[in-house]
């Protein structure tokens, strides 16, 4: 099966997707390896750092992806389709959980555990830690546009396509997200400059 081909950085290679459509497990694995961290990150930040829920949602997303991949006809970008599945799964899970949660429970913010490397310097780690707490505390509708923008580097139009929003609404939500981050973390300006110089 033709699944050993190179996958492009921007999207999944067509031949890998075609191989997945024929049930090639190795191709599924490749697709999973390529997108697992980004899907998991979106879910993790969406659920305020709750790793167990993020893992469940990530599994659901990939199972849905593999069982429905035959329906993917290439009209939209593969990533648009994947992140639509991801955000829909997050929203569904959020709705399910809300029914069982007391008021106030859902505002609890855990700190997402993220990958760290020896290259991470003190200033970077400090800024990154503060940013992830602040993003986890954003309202879900603001959080999700920030995640698609900064993990996926999607354009406003692409984010709009994933979330069924107009470009203007995406712009307005990002505006609000940026302002909240700046107001909460304005005191980290000096550390940010150091972190940017280090990177």
């Amino acid at each position: 099966m033709e699944s050993g081909v190179l996958m492009s950085e921007g999207g999944a290679c067509e031949s890998v997707i075609e191989a997945c459509k024929t049930g090639d497990r190795e191709a599924f694995r490749k697709l999973f390896e390529k997108y697992k961290d980004r899907v998991f990150s979106v879910a993790l930040y969406f659920f305020g750092g709750d790793e167990a829920t993020a893992s469940d949602v990530t599994q659901q997303v990939f199972l849905k992806l593999f069982t429905r991949i035959a329906q993917f006809n290439g009209e939209a970008e593969f990533t648009t389709w994947l992140y639509r599945l991801t955000t829909n799964a997050c929203v569904d899970e959020h709705r399910k959980r809300r029914r069982f949660l007391q008021f106030g429970d859902e505002t609890q913010v855990l700190e997402p555990r993220v990958r760290s490397s020896n290259e991470d310097t003190l200033a970077r780690a400090e800024v990154a830690g503060a940013v992830k707490r602040a993003v986890s505390a954003l309202k879900p509708k603001l959080r999700v546009v920030m995640l698609l923008k900064y993990f996926e580097e999607m354009s406003y139009e692409e984010i709009g396509a994933v979330l069924n929003l107009s470009k203007g609404t995406v712009a307005s939500r990002l505006n609000r997200g940026h302002k909240i981050l700046a107001r909460k973390l304005g005191h980290l300006r000096a550390e940010l400059v150091r972190a940017e110089q280090e990177s």
Binding site: R25, F28, E51, A54, F62, L174, L181
Partner: protein, 415 residues
């Protein structure tokens, strides 16, 4: 009098999501409107912070769960299809029988070949090995070339248009157009000129005998290196988004148009024609408004900015003070300073010793009395807030020459 503020468009502006026309309107407005400028600084800080958002790693065990579910599903599917497979068994047997006949024919052909051409088997065999090795090498080369082409095609780059002559990118001549990738040099000889499109935020015209490299291009930073030669930059982006590194300082665009020249010794001359440019080297910074210029020198960094209509004697004395450490030249600079040269005197405050600073203060205060709350003692001890307050007041004088009366009135009304 009413004007349109652009507060809702500022994130899209920072991300380069607006059209060129919209970008130009917002850039002009942000330069003139203090409220939108402050709001934009806030948005930009938010963008820079969000760029630090770390990606999380999915747990290793995730795939096992997914694979288990997939296996369960495929077991069900196999059960459903087992009947169909039984029906297909007869056809499969027939196919096997055909294959077996072909295999026997093939064996017969190999035996005949050995009898007719005794050495051929080993030749064919060694040729097969050589062919297989050649295939492996060809595949490896194809993959390497493909990967190289892919990396090259996906690397961020800017468009370069030839104006005249034969500009080169990475030593290759470009036709009418080319792409300057991150890390690549654009070089012009004495008969060549080119124009670089700086992402969607401006353009840089490259003069003959110039060597310039693209260092970085991303949402919050676009950076060139000018090793030698001359470039003219026209930028309509938010402040501090476009930078040019030179051997002796970094030119940071603050919304402007300017010419920057670098000679073979690494010295540079900046001449600003619109807006402002900041020249930075370590902790030393020179703010250069339209109509002013500034020299820089390796090891010293940016000198003190001066207006281009200043006298030769004034500029010469300033250069000796900045780069030769000739303290006697300070007297000539103070004596020759006009009302507009408060630009030079304000910069000198933080570059001379405490005793000399008091003399500079006296001359500056005589030309432009400090605002309320700014004291001689505060300035002598380099109180940052007082220096900034005085600069804010002086800035109107520095840019007045380039701003029509109507715009000045507009600035007063809305700032």
């Amino acid at each position: 009098m009413f004007t349109k503020h652009y507060k809702k468009e500022l994130s899209a502006y920072a991300h380069g999501e607006l059209t060129a026309e919209e970008t130009e309107h917002v850039a002009a407005h942000v330069r003139a409107c203090a409220a939108c400028r402050a709001e934009f600084e806030e948005i930009r800080l938010g963008v820079r912070l969000a760029e630090c958002l770390p990606e999380a790693a999915a747990p290793e065990s995730l795939w096992e769960g997914i694979e288990a579910s997939l296996t369960k599903d495929s077991a069900h599917a196999q059960q459903r299809h087992s009947q169909i497979q039984t029906h297909g068994q007869t056809q499969l047997e027939a196919t096997r029988s055909q294959l077996s006949t072909r295999s026997q024919q093939s064996k017969r052909f190999r035996r005949a070949r050995t009898i007719l051409f005794p050495g051929a088997a080993s030749i064919f065999s060694s040729n097969r090995r050589a062919f297989a090795a050649a295939c492996v090498v060809a595949c490896a080369v194809a993959v390497a070339v493909g990967a190289w082409l892919y990396v090259r095609a996906t690397r961020p780059s800017w468009e370069v248009a030839r104006i005249e002559g034969t500009p080169r990118i990475a030593s290759d001549r470009i036709g009418e157009r080319g792409r300057l990738g991150v890390g690549e040099w654009l070089e012009t000889d004495d008969a060549s000129r080119a124009e670089i499109s700086v992402a969607n935020i401006g353009a840089v015209e490259v003069e003959p005998n110039t060597r310039v490299r693209l260092i970085e291009t991303r949402l919050t930073e676009h950076r060139l290196e000018l090793a030698r030669g001359t470039l003219h930059a026209r930028i309509w982006a938010p402040p501090r988004l476009f930078f040019v590194n030179t051997p002796s300082a970094v030119a940071a665009d603050l919304g402007c148009a300017y010419t920057l020249e670098v000679d073979d010794a690494g010295r540079s001359l900046l001449h600003v024609t619109a807006g402002y440019v900041a020249l930075d080297a370590g902790e030393r910074e020179s703010i250069v408004p339209a109509g002013a210029a500034c020299l820089t020198k390796p090891g010293t960094g940016p000198g003190t900015p001066f207006f281009e209509d200043a006298s030769e004697e004034f500029v010469g004395a300033l250069a000796r003070l900045d780069f030769d450490g000739d303290r006697a030249s300070l007297e000539r600079v103070l004596k020759g300073a006009r009302a507009r040269d408060t630009l030079t005197l304000w910069h000198l405050l933080s570059r001379v010793g405490a005793d000399e600073r008091a003399r500079v203060y006296e001359r500056l205060a005589a030309l432009a009395p400090p605002p309320e709350g700014v004291t001689r003692e505060g300035i002598v001890r380099l109180d940052r807030a007082m220096l900034d307050a005085w600069k804010d007041q002086l800035e109107d004088r520095w840019i007045d020459g380039g701003i029509p009366a109507v715009r000045k009135m507009w600035r007063k009304l809305w700032n």
